[in-house]
Amino acid sequence: MTTSVLPQTATDRLRWAVADGWTVTRRDLAHWVRQPGPVIFSLLFSVMIVLMFGYLFGGAMAMPGRAGGGQASGDYREFLMPGMFVMTMLFGVGETVSAVTADARKGVTDRFRAMPMAPSAVVVGRGTADMLNAILVLLVMIACGFAVGWRAHGGVPETVLAFVLVLLLRFALIWIGIYLGLIIKGEEGVTMVQTLEFPLGFLSSAFVAPSTMPGWLGAVAEWNPLSSTILATRELFGNPGWGGDSWITQHALLMAIVWPLLLVAIFFPLAVRRYAALGR
């Protein structure tokens, strides 16, 4: 008889949670290997946006802090890359939502829930896989940035901190993605989330400085949590386009930590409650 022994102690339970979470993570990694198409497509898509904005629109972009424009478009690509690092983290939300809804729709989530595995593993595994994916995406974007002339001008600690902030934001976005994935039922909802990523990204300092927008719109863009991470990393990389007069731009570094933590504080409990509500 093949039987399993349920964990008795807290240590056993923790060991199970880690092992099960890793098994679920490995499932996603196996997807990349067996079906690399979607991963490659999403990487190429981000590279394409860099090229599109860097070379197609870049020449026409007014750079903040330099009246009259006329600067080399190389400056715009320096301005663009921190925005793109953050945009790729935002694109990850659609992938999280899509994976969570697909599992729910195909009954895989129910199978997991009816198994004697650690209940946290489904979510922990998803989160770990998405973080690993985010690191891969970021590495590709860094290489892409180097290719188009972007450089980190700060020291090593500043550069490392900047990337940590980008990943911290992705970590926060995972919980939004899991929460939305548990609410959304059909593929239409997933498409909607993916479509909304663009206006949300445009309404930040990723592509243009909020100071060039009409007053109220600029304020919304400045208070967009994405903007704080973008501004803080521009500052840490020593790329142009950071700074501003408003409180939120003056405290970009602080807010690049506060916003993600706030999002986690809101969406982690929501996601956990939603997951528990599957039993209602």
Binding site: T2, A19, Q35, V108, R111
Partner: protein, 324 residues
């Protein structure tokens, strides 16, 4: 097993969704080592019942034990004792069959080596060994369902739940699944299966519970149920509307039941016990009465007719299946 001798025992289970009662006083006992078919139309509460017993849903009222463990207070023990095959083939479609089984094996906390060996055993047992590295998405419906079944059997569960295991399958795939279920039952697994098909329950189950509006309305062996509803039905279609009343009297006398009448189609239908004798008697009696039948046929009762007889109302669509 908790030594109760009962694979499943449910008492007064209730589950409401707003105004709709998906389950309303659901009672059921499935003895260890037996197969129980839960028969009912869409919306009767079959899936809700299975989801509660498999710890996926919490009931609003009542209590249930599976493999001797209370589903509410000891869900972990229940999960370690059951296998669940839901309405969708819940496997990872990108991974191969072997990768699926190894992953689930690891999540059942088998060592990597044992998970691999168990995967190979199950692939061989369900005739999936030749599928190699092919992703499950390229499997036929029947193969995917067998993989789903294999994934539910990694731990050799004491109790297996099958929720409409053959819905959407072609007849050949359906036979494959039936064969797989039969061989499991021979191995001593207790099974609770839900189905919309009387035929399927009859093929697989030693006990059939008929579910209507969230409540078991009839329960017994297939033979007992058949004697309640009449194993076979005779359908007679007459040429002229004027012949109907005579034909009804003839068929009523022979079958010993009140025939049902479909006036528009001039069709008279009644359950019969001894099918061949009934057929010859009806043919002869109609001939003697000077009635020329347009059509006479013996057939198995439909689920609608089972319902009509057991519940006094047509199956219809009383409530949408809420829990799917």
């Amino acid at each position: 097993m908790g030594g109760t001798g009962r694979a499943v025992s449910a008492e007064g289970l209730g589950k409401r969704y707003g105004e709709t009662a998906a389950l309303d006083g659901f009672d059921l006992t499935v003895p260890e080592g037996t197969v129980c078919g839960l028969l009912g139309p869409n919306g009767a509460g079959k899936t809700t019942a299975v989801r509660i017993l498999a710890t996926l849903l919490r009931p609003d009222g009542g209590r249930a034990e599976v493999a001797g463990f209370d589903v509410a207070s000891r869900p972990a023990e229940v999960r370690a004792s059951i296998g669940l095959v839901g309405q969708h083939a819940a496997v990872d479609e990108v991974l191969s069959g072997k990768q699926n089984l190894e992953m689930f094996g690891r999540l059942y906390h088998l060592s990597p080596g044992r998970a691999r060996r168990r995967a190979d055993e199950l692939l061989a047992r369900f005739e999936l060994a030749g599928t190699g590295n092919k992703p499950a998405k390229q499997y036929s419906g029947g193969m995917r369902r067998r993989l789903d079944l294999a994934a539910s059997l990694i731990l050799e569960p004491a109790v297996l739940f099958l929720d409409e295991p053959t819905t959407g399958l072609d007849p050949r795939s359906r036979n494959e699944v039936w064969e797989a279920v039969r061989s499991l039952v021979d191995g001593g697994t207790s099974v609770l299966l839900t189905t919309q098909y009387l035929d399927e329950a009859d093929q697989l189950a030693g006990q059939i519970a008929v579910l209507d509006r969230g409540r078991v309305v009839a329960n017994g062996t297939p033979d007992r149920l058949k004697s309640l509803i009449g194993a076979e039905r005779i359908d007679v279609v007459v040429h002229h509307a004027g012949e109907i009343s005579t034909a009804v009297a003839v068929i009523g006398r022979i079958s010993g039941n009140d025939p049902e009448l479909d006036v528009d189609n001039r069709r008279i239908s009644a359950p019969v016990r001894d099918r061949v004798a009934a057929l010859t008697d009806v043919v002869r009696a109609l001939h003697d009465a000077g009635i020329e039948a347009e059509d006479i046929a013996l057939r198995r009762p439909t689920l609608d007719e089972v319902f009509l007889r057991l519940t006094g109302h047509r199956a219809g669509r009383p409530a949408e299946e809420v829990a799917t």
